[in-house]
Subunit: 420 residues, 2 copies
């Protein structure tokens, strides 16, 4: 049996422990929801205040030049690129994940239509994050493609092999179960089938090592406000492999993606490379906050970078799974996150026949913040930048107590909020 003292020892030996100091951790909380909204970095409030008071308030439009606002989408994109195996100049931070997905999926469909006109399917998983499916559904309907959804990750290879899939669109880590796809293997299977591989990195960027270029991805998007700690609704990012980036316009052909935005040319002339995936004026306040968040992940580079973060993440989730089994084993919690490391992201999810929503609420009331995903999933995210092994112990103790005591049956934990 594990003990709390062993957890404290792990914390004492943790080479990444110092990174925790970079965050304003909420008092009295064990925050296991960094996969939904990352914690506030200490550097962010001052940086946002600087953008507001100095760059906007004092220098106003001059800041497009003097504060390099015009380069910020690229600068932040270059930083995120380092975390996901992309080269400088290949990525920009902009818009939302949904909007970026629309850009790359429509570009992928256009390319497929030209290179492989017989292929008219977009393949994804039924359990993919809904916004991805909605965007794909809308594009498929508009362009006469068929959106095909498989129920299980294991069916992807078989479906690809049928040969009519234009674009494979997957979220690398499933938002509900935390299951991780092998990007290299899946992209290889896609390539072999003449299919373009589009990856949503919402739950992988900043959470585990990603190597877009080496692992054969064609397109990628991802989220700024989860493991990148960019703040609520932070801009997302978009990446296109250089072999595709200049082939087509994406249809959101806004002025920031023009080759010369301030020439005010009435005809669209796309910027070289990934810059053509910019559209309108970037939300500067949110983008500046995103940069601070990305910097917290880059701060791990001298300490071993994403590999070290991944090792700690797996140790945290291993511990959580083991402790729940040890201490809450009799309460009917089914771990729906794979136990195999190669198949696990940075979260652990449990399903339960009854009470999942209320159990999460009872935990939140005690300061242990996870979240609920319909119909029956309790989701716990583990951000190795700021979580300790002792936090895992304490969280499981609360979970055990909520279950042993039956506290979750209290009606106040069953009231549904607007956002769950």
């Amino acid at each position: 049996m594990t003990t709390r003292e062993e957890c404290l020892s792990l914390d004492a030996e943790d080479p990444l422990a110092s990174l925790r100091d970079r965050f304003e951790l909420p008092a009295g909380k064990i925050y296991l929801d960094g996969n939904s909204l990352g914690v506030l970095p200490k550097a962010t409030p001052a940086r946002v205040a600087e953008v507001v008071r100095l760059e906007w308030g004092e220098h106003l439009i001059e800041s497009w030049n003097t504060a390099s606002w015009i380069e910020l989408p690229q600068r932040v994109g270059d930083k995120i690129a380092r975390l996901v195996g992309a080269a400088p100049g290949e990525m920009v931070a902009a818009d939302s994940t949904s909007v970026n997905l629309f850009k790359v999926l429509s570009a992928a469909m256009t390319i497929a239509r030209e290179d492989a006109p017989g292929k008219r399917c977009i393949l994804s998983e039924r359990g993919n994050f809904p916004t991805d499916l909605y965007i794909a559904e809308a594009l498929a309907r508009e362009r006469g493609f068929e959106l095909v959804l498989v129920g299980a990750a294991e069916d992807i290879g078989h479906r690809l092999a049928q040969g009519n899939v234009a674009v494979l669109m997957l979220t690398q880590v499933d938002f509900k179960s935390g299951r991780l796809h092998d990007m290299a293997a899946v992209s290889r299977a896609a390539r072999a089938a003449g299919t373009l591989a589009l990856w949503d990195l919402a739950h992988s960027a900043g959470a585990l090592p990603v190597n877009l270029d080496r692992d054969g991805a064609d397109f990628a998007v991802g989220c700024g406000y989860k493991y990148l700690n960019g703040g609520p609704g932070a801009p997302a990012f978009v990446w296109v492999h250089p072999r595709h980036a200049e082939r087509f316009w994406q249809p959101l052909a806004g002025w920031m993606g023009h080759a010369a935005p301030f020439a005010f040319d009435p005809a669209y002339r796309p910027a070289p490379g990934i810059a053509r995936y910019l559209c309108g004026t970037p939300a500067l306040l949110s983008l500046a906050a995103l940069e601070c968040g990305v910097d917290t992940v880059l701060a791990a580079e001298p300490l071993g970078g994403m590999a070290a973060l991944r090792a700690k993440s797996l140790a945290l989730t291993d511990l959580f799974i083991a402790l729940v089994q040890e201490r809450c084993g009799s309460h009917g919690l089914e771990c729906i996150t794979p136990s195999e490391h190669a198949l696990r992201g940075s979260q652990v999810s449990f399903a339960r026949a009854e009470g999942s929503y209320a159990i999460v609420q009872a935990l939140i009331a005690r300061g242990v913040v996870g979240d609920f995903r319909a119909p029956d999933v309790m989701r716990f995210g583990f951000t190795p930048l700021y979580l300790r092994f002792a936090d895992v112990w304490d969280a499981v103790e609360h979970l055990r107590d909520v279950l042993d005591s039956g506290q979750w049956r209290d009606p106040r934990f069953h009231r549904q909020a607007a956002v769950t």
Copy 2:
């Protein structure tokens, strides 16, 4: 001849003078570029800090409920609606103007394809803001429509009368000349021709009275960072007349526009009304700042609202035009902004055969901030919320001096910056 004393008297009598106190005006500057980026409201830094430190930093994901983040796009949309003659529930603040234009133009094209399948043209002006033209060009290409551009506003009626225009897409106030369209008359002509009228209010929302519903608009978008003072890259807004709002999905069918975003339903079911024009997670920091900006315009409501702001705006631009004529008349400045009130927005633009860029730079060096628009336009925006009549006098004195002295010929004013 006008005197500075007369300008000071106008300021002393100005019923809107107190609104200036709501802004952090940059020291030593006369800011005539609120049509590019509005000035920082005094309330904004504290509000943004509250969102960062309290709502994000302390309450984290709970703020979706406790701070009503989930309702913010609608709440800000409702406030903007009051400024442009739309009803509560008809508008949301989200994304960029470019992205919103894509949403409404594609919806308009879909509706036109159903109601008037013979009409395959999108009509606009060659001088429309480029991002609008780029988006229209991309959509026209994708869907087999033709984008037709007229060179002069006077040609619109004639071109509409040809009968094959599906959508008329105009920016109400021209970004370069400041020319104002008569929304009621133009929308009426469009309606008579069986054409949908789509308006970009980038330079009119917060600058002059707009009445979308009364004046027959079908769709509208607009910008949050100009006269609404929302901050750099503030979210934009989107409005669809209720008669169209529920007819179709817009293709950016993201999860925030779903009828039940947190049900995580794999099939898209659009939200009722304008909420289906939301897409991804909103950039909360930028959206909170936008609300503060909109509040500065709403603060004029007890003082006469948009009608009073419009009266002052016209008085300011009248004065500016008259003073430039009186005091700089010999320097070859051509006022390209209409002198007729009904045709003028809230800016004044001059063209000059030589040196427009350098003259603007020389003025900026003196603290008089206007901007340059290629190839030869000096642009001066007048925000009645914070500009004084004496500012107009002083700005013209600087302009006179830059011209009389030939200071603008100094080579340092000819160096081009990345953003002009």
